[in-house]
């Protein structure tokens, strides 16, 4: 059973066993506008919780995607590098960014669930 969690920086993370897939939320893609460029880490490298894992850019804004957990990058979504519009169209599905092998399978414990994140976004106005 996959667990879906969210961060205050508007990343989502879906855990399945000791791996997890990471992307940006629908709210994040709306705030950025049309995404024109995505920079992804190389598979095999490490990401550290709270540190920059990827970069996402629209024509007029750039934003870092922070790793919500620490681990090793297993795969990245080359499809969004070639066609960044996928992130706008389907941020939680086809627009995923990277998957990692978790250092700590319990790393998602402190993060928000879907309802808590929805409330958090509502607060942002």
């Amino acid at each position: 059973m996959a667990t879906l969690r969210f961060t205050k920086d508007h990343e989502w993370i879906r855990q399945d066993g000791d791996t997890a897939v990471i992307g940006i939320t629908d709210y994040a893609q709306q705030q950025l506008g049309d995404i024109v460029y995505v920079e992804l880490p190389a598979p095999g490298t490490r990401v550290e919780c709270g540190k920059e894992a990827a970069v996402v850019e629209s024509a007029k804004a750039a934003s870092e995607v922070y790793a919500p957990v620490s681990g090793e990058v297993i795969a990245v979504n080359e499809a969004i590098a070639g066609d960044p519009a996928k992130v706008n169209a389907d941020p939680m599905g086809e627009g995923w960014f990277l998957s990692v092998k978790l250092d700590d399978p319990n790393a998602l414990d402190g993060l928000m669930d879907e309802a808590a994140y929805a409330a958090f976004v509502a607060e942002q106005g």
Partner: protein, 446 residues
């Protein structure tokens, strides 16, 4: 004052509309201790006539290059400027517009920049070029910083035949960014011994080099590629590329150049125009503005500034460079001059320069005690004189000839270079100029 449209009545009316009694009320936030009530100790306003007279008097104290036999280069070159260039850049719509942030109101500037980028890419034979930087020296320093970002390596090696100002600018930039810069010894007439190791981010060479020499850098490019370093080729005389193999063809990863010699006057050193070209895969690591092609809401071709997320106004402390203002108008002058020249004109212009330099070199090297140090060159070469070059240049100037730059001006600490003189000849040097130079130098050496 002729530049200020407000009348006394306007000012009174406007203060009343604002609801304040006097202009001082609008400066109320200035701490009282810092308010200057009277005028600062400077001259009062003057009319056009008076200002023109005063500045013309200063201008008249200088020896004008075009009025004397003139043979100075060393990174800034005097070429004939077609009259249309200055006429066109003085059109107010170019001269007095801002950076094209509102593309619908600046298609002229943007299209010209797109043409500029294309010309620079063509002449250097690189994939892409940016919309200009301040000058060649800062372009070189930006290239070094970019190589550092791409390779994540810590050392830059600068050829000893790199323009000494460029070398110093690279060192100045690097001393605060943590990059190690290794500047090789200047050895006019001889190639650098270059060692590339695993920490080398880039090698910077100049082509033609500071001493005028032309060296093939294809082999060096191969060595760089094998070692995972980037080859940066600096060009300070773009007209040379009308005659010689372009750096892109020799395998350069970045070309940083000075575009002054096309379209821009000597101007005592500025403003000039930094050129910056690289390979497609490095575009997002480039500094400076880029114009790109797109379409408008009706599907018609148009131009915008693009990939702006690299830049400081968006990326702030993570930008590829802090540069904001570039050399737009100088880039426009470059584009207009090069449009006038075209393929045939640039080729011919380069031939004329080369011919003038070869003939001058032959004439001067035939003087007793003078030796031509350079072997292969374009329009600039080094002579060894039988006396200190600085004294010779001063004596030539006394005789109304601007005969070159003594290398001691750049390398005062290197006594072995004291007799060397760097001489340039462009298409502007007439046969009479060459005769006058030869005669004056003969007299000085006597």
């Amino acid at each position: 004052m002729r530049y200020l449209p407000l009348t006394l009545d306007d000012r009174r009316e406007m203060l009343a509309a604002i609801g304040v009694g006097s202009i001082d009320d609008l400066f109320a936030d200035v701490p009282s201790a810092a308010r200057r009530e009277g005028l600062l100790d400077l001259p009062l306003a003057q009319g056009e006539l008076e200002v023109e007279r005063a500045l013309s008097r200063m201008a008249a104290k200088n020896m004008v290059a075009g009025a004397v036999p003139f043979f100075i280069g060393a990174g800034a070159y005097r070429h004939h400027m077609p009259a249309a260039v200055d006429h066109l850049i003085q059109r107010g719509e170019f001269l007095t517009s801002y950076t094209p942030y509102q593309p619908e109101m600046a298609q002229g500037t943007l299209q010209a920049l797109f043409e500029f980028q294309t010309q620079v890419a063509l002449v250097t034979r690189m994939d892409v070029a940016n919309a200009s930087l301040y000058d060649g020296a800062t372009a070189c320093a930006e290239a070094v910083a970019m190589a550092h970002r791409i390779t994540r390596r810590g050392k830059a090696i600068l050829s000893g035949a790199l323009h000494p100002h460029y070398r110093t600018v690279c060192q100045t930039y690097a001393q605060f960014s943590g990059l190690q810069v290794e500047a090789l010894k200047p050895t006019p007439g001889r190639a650098d011994p270059i060692d590339i190791d695993g920490d080398t981010a880039c090698i910077v060479v100049q082509y033609p080099d500071f001493f005028g020499e032309l060296r093939d850098c294809s082999a060096l490019a191969t060595r760089c590629r094998q070692a995972g370093a980037l080859l940066i080729v600096v060009v300070t005389e773009m007209v040379a590329l009308g005659a010689v193999t372009p750096p892109g063809e020799m395998g350069a990863d970045i070309v940083a150049g000075e575009g002054q010699s096309i379209g821009n006057a000597l101007n005592f050193g500025g403003p000039y125009v930094g050129l910056f070209a690289t390979r497609e895969q490095h575009v997002r690591q480039m500094p400076g503005r880029l114009a790109g092609q797109t379409v408008d809401a009706d599907g018609r071709r148009g131009w915008v500034l693009t990939l702006s997320t690299r830049e400081q106004h968006i990326r702030r402390e993570k930008a590829t460079s802090n540069i904001c203002t570039n050399s737009g108008l100088c880039a426009l002058a470059f584009t207009i001059h090069l449009a006038l020249l075209g393929e045939a004109g640039l080729t011919r212009l380069a031939q004329l320069n080369h011919a003038a330099a070869c003939n001058l070199a032959d004439r001067l090297a035939a003087l007793p005690g003078v030796r031509l140090v350079s072997e292969c060159f374009f329009n600039e070469f080094v002579l060894r004189l039988p006396m200190a070059a600085a004294s010779a240049v001063a004596a030539l100037a006394d005789r109304g000839v601007l005969g070159g730059v003594p290398l001691s001006r750049f390398y005062p600490e290197r006594e072995e270079l004291a007799d060397l003189l760097l001489v340039a000849a462009t298409e502007t040097a007439t046969g009479n100029d060459i005769d006058a130079y030869e005669a004056a130098l003969r007299e000085v050496l006597r």
